[in-house]
């Protein structure tokens, strides 16, 4: 090249010497935060033992070592499989999962070994171990998802398969005899031997992926083609048809299975994704109106649902606190008795609330860790949602955007529905609390959700392929 340098050359000339600030993978941050998460969980676990017996819980070392090994494995897998992923998602989820194990242990000890109280449905003496096994399965699925889904767009290939799988999973309990599928008036699980699976937990993810990939191929027609009716832009029926069908079928199944909470989640997931894809505010409006109208008519049509409304409005009236509102008011009393700082792990009476280990686990945390601890837990969830939404904002391809935004919003909605339900902000609908509720399906599905968010964030934060050479310059090749 000649010695005559243009101003443009001058600017470019510096590049090879001072490389562009490379985005860092931040895996070290993740490791440090994981240590913090493990320390917190170990402290809480020890706290239960001291709160109940005044000594370290027996078997704590084994359980904590297992927990550390599992997380270390997950961390190493992330280093290999998703090195650019968000560094906070794994530690946040690990903290919540660990707290779930701690609360399972705390509730398992109720009435055992001279500890006060008795559970309406006692946990087996191996419940903590089982919860750790579920954590292992969850983390296994987490790694598997990261390994199998190396690029988010891989998922786009199976739009209709995921939709079908989702519907089948949803339909399964309704089609099976009540003997192996009914729990508390809702047909939402499959009982096999000693294990129960709640297929809807996995159906949520399958349908979410299916919605996202369908919407991304159709979003242009959905938002542009169509008619304007009453100031609202309606897409063409043939474009929207498959989505509406999936959604209506899922709703019908839910009504058939008497599970309003999950139906709200699907509705939220669907509407949020539709909105992200089309940017049309009218969808939010339509979705909200449809859901409120649906919920209202359901409350009139089904006694099971109408009762929920009555309990929500008048939990303390008449005999309600002793009958159908018993669980709700006991949960609220538990939180009230916890007050600002809580009774301390092992110091409260969470066992007075029926089935506190599943839907009402948040009230157990509110009682024993107080308002302070419960707010911290809510903020942990809030951070996961925030990381998911941030990923959605920064990721480039539309499919990843819709999927990340939809999944993050669904998680936020799930927390809102269950925590709002047990704290009487909204009518109570029984859905699980991700990571904290005792039980396997929810935990495994939650880990898969985290894996998907990490894969998406890995894609979002991965630096674009660097040009090997500065293509702006003439290359001199020596062929001697």
């Amino acid at each position: 090249m000649s010695s005559v340098a243009t101003s443009e050359d001058a600017t470019l000339g510096g590049m090879p010497d001072s490389p562009m600030a490379m985005p860092r993978g931040r895996r070290r941050t993740e490791a440090v935060m994981l240590v913090f998460a493990v320390a917190l969980v170990a402290f809480a676990y020890a706290n239960v033992g001291f709160g109940l017996k005044g000594s370290l819980p027996s078997g704590m070392a084994e359980y904590m070592i297992a927990f550390v090994v599992l997380l270390a494995g997950a961390h190493l897998a992330v280093r290999r499989l998703a090195p650019w992923a968000d560094p906070l998602l794994l530690p946040l989820a690990a903290t919540l999962d660990g707290l779930g194990i701690v609360m399972t242990y705390r509730l398992q000890e109720v009435g055992r070994d001279g500890n006060p109280g008795s559970m309406s449905v006692p946990l087996s003496s191996s419940a903590t171990l089982v919860q750790i096994v579920y954590t292992a399965i969850g983390l296994g699925c987490f790694v598997a998802v990261l390994a199998l889904v190396r690029e988010p767009r891989v998922l786009q290939r199976y739009t209709y398969i995921f939709g079908l799988v989702g519907i089948v999973l949803l339909a399964l309990p309704a089609l099976l005899p009540a003997g192996i599928s009914e729990v508390q008036g809702a047909k939402i699980q499959i009982r096999l031997g000693g294990f129960t699976i709640q297929p809807e937990e996995f159906a949520k993810l399958a349908l979410g992926v299916s919605f996202a990939s369908y919407l991304v191929t159709k979003r242009d027609v959905l938002s542009l083609a169509g008619r304007r009716v009453l100031g609202i832009d309606l897409p063409r029926a043939r474009d929207l048809g498959p989505v509406i069908i999936v959604w209506a079928v899922s709703l019908l199944l839910l009504v058939f299975e008497s599970d309003i909470g999950t139906s709200a989640l699907f509705m939220g997931l669907f509407v949020a994704m539709l909105y992200i894809a089309t940017q049309r505010t009218s969808w939010l409006l339509i979705g909200f109106v449809l859901f409120v109208a649906g919920a209202y008519s359901a409350s009139k049509l089904f006694a099971h649902v109408g009762e929920r409304f009555q309990i929500w409005l008048h939990p303390f009236a008449g005999q309600n606190p002793f009958n159908n509102a018993f669980q709700l008011v006991q949960g609220i009393y538990g939180m009230a008795s916890g007050g600002i700082l809580g009774k301390g792990l092992g110091g409260g009476q969470p066992y007075l609330t029926p089935l506190v280990q599943s839907d009402f686990v948040v009230t157990a945390f509110g009682e024993e860790l107080g308002m302070t601890g419960l707010m911290a837990i809510l903020l942990l969830y809030g951070l996961i949602v925030q990381r998911g939404l941030a990923t959605s904002l920064s990721v480039k391809d539309p499919f990843s955007k819709i999927l990340a935004g939809g999944l993050a919003f669904m998680l936020a909605l799930q927390i809102f529905v269950i925590v709002g339900g047990v704290t009487r902000l909204i009518p109570l609908t029984g859905i699980t609390t991700p990571f904290l509720s005792q039980g396997g399906s929810s935990l495994v599905a939650s880990w898969i959700l985290i894996a998907l968010l990490m894969r998406l964030s890995d894609t979002a934060r991965k630096p674009p392929p660097q040009p090997i050479q500065d293509e702006g310059m003439t290359q001199v090749v020596n062929l001697s």
Binding site: P116, M335, A336, G339, I340, G366, M371, G382, F409
Partner: protein, 489 residues
């Protein structure tokens, strides 16, 4: 797409803010009011999670304490001298409480706003929370004497002893009594069984006869009638009044007679001095005096002595002693000698004597001397206050002379107790109250008295149901209490 995502993010933020705000509302703001909601067994169990304060007598004897028994209800209440102190302590059961346990509950639990700062300090310094100790005014010697005497008499009745100068209650005993330990059991089924047994017991052991039951005062009411006569008219103990052996009550066929139809005094002309009539407890003389004064005057004096007061608290509520306005002269005559519609608590009996002993000023009775927080600082202490001044010091002195005469004069109704306590002059008044429909019941024995020894003084009121003569059934108990207190000065 990012515009939509930002809005979705705001929606998520709003949901979390709502949850956080609601958790704050529930656990910080509304938590207090939720403790009183139906079926809240947590709030209920909470009061057993830390040590409730002790209740002690004035001389430091522990009469109620909390012992750590483990379990959901960590602390159980123990009453070392159950039946003896039950009328004072009351009980603290799973679902209810009575007596001082109920009235001073906020101090005993440590929830009182006076203890709030100390509780915060304890919370920060991680000291186990403990309720405040409530020290009563009771004297364990006097209380023990009262309880033992009642118990050995075997008859239903009650004793109240007061410090006339302050109003401090030195003894409060009721028989038959109950053992509050039976109601402090933490097993709900056991509690229900014990409670049912006590409630259905025909002897009514749960009834605190000292402050929660009223009986006719009988002749002890002549203290009030005399007070009215000396205050209203120009009468004094030497005034000669009509005291016939038999008195035809106006507009009735009823003839009122003295005890056993005896003649009053030695004048022999149907007349007697008021002091003689008082000493020998002549009904006709005081019936005449009452009719001359009129029901309104008697009622006014009775109220100054504390009767017809529904609001007296010691700190538990005391039932009202009654003196209604009588419509007919014949009724007024009966009410002037403590019959007809007059009813008093044993506490009221003690208040009659205490007024005279304290130169005519009635002090407000109280049972709680002081409250001491767990850090030994005094958070509340009693300040004696006058309730009223029924009579002037001069009149009080005249009545005192008459009450001394009841015991010291050979003709006095309580002459048997003249030298009961060596070196101590007892002033008293007996009462033998007719009882029941058409006076069909056994007579209630009543005695009110006071005495002083050195700087110690005490007024006692005793009522024994169906005890017969006041001098025979009630006075020995009162004297035993006086003796126990005054000789241990």
């Amino acid at each position: 797409m990012n515009r939509a995502l930002r809005r979705i993010s705001i929606a998520a933020l709003v949901m979390f803010v709502l949850l956080l705000a609601n958790v704050n509302y529930l656990q910080a703001f509304e938590a207090g009011s939720l403790t009183d909601k139906p079926g809240n067994s947590r709030a209920f169990a909470a009061q057993f999670q830390y040590q409730r304060g002790e209740i002690t007598t004035a001389d430091g004897k522990v009469i109620a304490e909390s012992k750590n028994v483990g379990g959901v209800y960590k602390y159980q209440r123990v009453y070392p001298l159950g039946q003896e102190y039950a009328p004072a302590t009351g009980y603290d059961a799973l679902y209810s409480a009575s007596g001082v346990e109920s009235a001073e509950n906020s101090y005993l639990t440590g929830n009182s706003s006076n203890l709030a700062v100390r509780n915060v300090i304890d919370m920060i310094t991680n000291k186990p929370r403990k309720g405040a100790t409530v020290q009563l005014t009771l004297d364990s010697n006097a209380q023990n004497a009262a309880w033992s005497a009642l118990q050995s008499s075997g008859k239903a009745g009650a004793v109240v002893a007061l410090n006339p100068q302050t109003g401090a209650i030195l003894a409060v005993a009721s028989y038959p009594s109950y053992d509050p330990n039976q109601l402090a059991v933490l097993d709900g089924n056991q509690l229900n069984a014990n409670d049912k047994k006590l409630l259905t017991d025909p002897n009514q052991p749960l009834l605190n006869r000292a402050t929660d039951a009223t009986f006719p005062p009988g002749s002890t009411f002549k203290i009030v009638t005399s007070s009215a006569a000396f205050t209203q008219g120009n009468d004094n103990p030497s005034t000669v009044v009509d005291a016939p052996t038999s008195l035809q009550l106006p507009q009735t066929s009823t003839r009122l007679i003295n005890n056993n139809g005896e003649q009053c005094g030695t004048m022999g002309n149907g007349k007697a001095t008021i002091i003689t009539a008082f000493t020998e407890s002549c009904n006709t003389a005081f019936a005449n005096i009452g009719m001359q004064l009129g029901s309104a005057t008697l009622k006014s004096m009775a109220e100054k002595y504390g009767m017809n007061d529904p609001n007296l608290k010691i700190p538990s509520s005391v039932v009202q002693s009654n003196f209604p306005l009588e419509p007919a002269q014949s009724f007024t005559a009966m009410s002037a000698i403590g019959q007809k519609d007059d009813t008093v608590t044993p506490l009221q009996e003690a208040m009659f004597s205490a007024t005279i002993a304290n130169n005519g000023t009635l002090m407000k009775p109280y049972l709680v001397q002081q409250v001491q927080a767990a850090d030994l600082s005094i958070v509340d202490s009693a300040s004696p206050a006058a309730l009223s001044q029924p009579v002037s010091p001069a009149v009080a002195s005249e009545i005192k002379t008459m009450m001394l005469s009841v015991v010291s004069s050979p003709d006095g109704t309580a002459a048997a107790f003249k030298n009961a306590i060596p070196g101590v002059q007892i002033a008293g008044k007996t009462g033998t109250a007719q009882n029941g429909v058409n006076n069909s019941g056994l007579n209630d024995a009543v005695f009110t008295c006071f005495a002083a020894n050195g700087n110690r003084s005490m007024a006692v009121g005793v009522i024994i149901q169906g005890g017969g003569y006041g001098a025979a059934a009630a006075a020995p108990i009162a004297v035993a209490v006086l003796k126990a207190y005054l000789e241990n000065g």
